[in-house]
């Protein structure tokens, strides 16, 4: 119980710091919108064939803006050795991981909540599938790569070139989740009649989420050790 309470304290601290500094979230948002705009230049939004790109585009926007936030997640703790302040407090290391994860997760969900409707709007996409399914898919997929992403960002923050290192670590490891989630989104958006197939993909991503979230919790102690 205290693990969760401390995690929420840490997540709250992160979100509060973000509210005060207004550095990461606006950057992520602007970046997400820019990616959408660039895409509308690259692929003609009026063409019917471009509609097929929307499912992939949702995740490209999400992942690339998520990387920006994940990068700052642990780097921001290095300035005054803040992370050491958390380590020497009577707090389980799992709380630190969970706290960081919650904060990142919330920020990325906010970005998605704004960027995805905007994407539909700018590409004039009429969504007539099942909204709960879409939300569930987005939630499951984001959970997976933000979880492992928060963990790998802690590894990368030890490097001098962490901004460059993190995508290299994250993309290969997150591949199964990405494959699954893009496929599921594709089915929900393009073939609403085959929804049971999307369910299969969601199970795969759900399994991935559970396995890797568990591993992250078990191994996080070794990353924090000084």
């Amino acid at each position: 119980m205290s693990i969760l309470r401390n995690a929420l304290t840490i997540a709250g601290k992160d979100l509060r710091a973000e509210r005060k500094s207004k550095q990461v979230l606006p950057t992520m948002l602007v970046f997400a919108v820019l990616v959408i705009v660039v895409f509308s230049f690259a692929f003609d939004p009026d063409k019917e064939s471009t509609k097929a790109l929307i499912p992939g585009l949702i995740w490209i926007v999400s992942i690339f803006s998520a990387i920006l936030g994940l990068n700052r997640s642990f780097i921001s703790e290095l300035k005054n050795d803040n992370i050491q302040g958390m380590i020497i407090a009577p707090v389980n290391s799992i709380s630190i991981f969970l706290g960081k994860f919650f904060a990142n997760f919330v920020m990325i969900l906010i970005v998605q909540a704004i960027a995805i409707p905007m994407l539909f709007l700018l590409f004039d996409y009429q969504f007539n599938g099942s909204l709960p399914w879409l939300l569930l898919t987005i939630f499951t997929g984001t959970f997976g790569f933000v979880g492992i992403g928060s963990f790998l960002s802690a590894i990368a923050s030890n490097s001098g070139i962490s901004e460059m290192l993190l995508p290299l670590l994250l993309f290969p490891i997150a591949t199964p989740a990405l494959i699954g989630i893009v496929s599921a989104t594709k089915i929900i958006l393009r073939h609403p009649d085959q929804i049971e197939k999307a369910y299969g993909w969601l199970q795969l991503v759900g399994g991935y989420d559970i396995i890797f979230f568990g591993i992250c919790i078990v191994l996080f102690d070794y990353i924090l050790e000084v």
Binding site: S159, F171, P172, I173, T175, F212, I215, Y222, I223
Partner: protein, 245 residues
């Protein structure tokens, strides 16, 4: 010599010279590679539909299997390192990862040649190729962590953590890409191992073993070099300390 007190403390047994055992290990490895060459080119039957090109398959599977084996060694040594914090496991993981990358590079190069001759395309998003590519990227990332600044024990810890995560990811990647490939690329791919004849199986098994032996010899040699480098670092540290006094 006062410089060499730290060897036992490290748990490393240092000898940098080539010994008889090394010659024997290498000799057997080379001999097995030669025999496997004979098996591949002369002994084994030529496959009916694909012709001689099918024989790429032996080296391809041989290296792919051993790349996996090497990464398996990384995985096991990573767990052992985190559990015991003995440097020797980190040395093994370092060496095995490097050799694994070499093997996977071979796989990535021979794969397209096989694809070109079998399916007339250089690349296909076929599950085995896809997961080999991801595997390649995972261990490139692993090497990037190795090249980080900092003391060896910090790097060893981070690498061990990533080595564990990366290896667990492999079967999931394979499963995901197989499912993905089967749904979106229906029948580009023929079953390559469909009807292997007896002597083909023998050639394949022998080649895999030959490469495994080769892998063992390489790891052995790599570890000896790594140990020598650690000894060198120790000497330098001690000398620096003496000068510092």
């Amino acid at each position: 010599m006062s410089f060499f007190k730290n060897e036992e403390e490290l748990g490393l047994n240092l000898n940098t010279r080539t010994t008889l055992v090394n010659h024997i290990v290498y000799g057997i490895a080379f001999a097995m590679i030669l025999v496997s060459a004979y098996l591949i080119f002369i002994y084994s039957n030529i496959e009916k539909t694909m012709g001689a090109v099918q024989k790429i398959f032996y080296v391809h599977v041989g290296t792919a299997w051993n790349a996996l084996l090497a990464f398996g060694v990384v995985f096991v040594c990573s767990i052992l390192y985190l559990a015991t914090k003995k440097r020797i496991y980190d040395v093994y993981a370092t060496v095995a990862a490097e050799i694994g990358v070499v093997f996977i590079i071979i796989v990535m190069l021979t794969g397209p040649i096989w694809a070109r001759s079998a399916w007339n395309v250089w690349w296909s998003w076929e599950p085995k190729l896809t997961s080999a590519l991801i595997l390649f990227f995972i261990y490139i990332a692993y090497t990037m962590i190795r090249f980080m600044d900092g003391s060896w024990d910090k790097k060893a810890r981070l690498c061990a953590v990533f080595g564990i995560i990366g290896f667990i990811d492999v079967p999931i990647v394979y499963f995901a890409s197989e499912w993905w490939g089967s749904k979106f690329h229906p029948t580009v791919v023929g079953q390559e191992g469909g009807g292997l004849e007896g002597n083909m199986v023998f050639a394949l098994v022998f080649t895999v073993f030959a490469f495994s032996f080769f892998l063992t010899a390489l790891i052995h040699k790599g570890v000896r070099i790594e140990k020598a480098r650690i000894e060198l670092q120790h000497m330098k540290d001690k000398i620096a300390e003496k000068i510092g006094r």
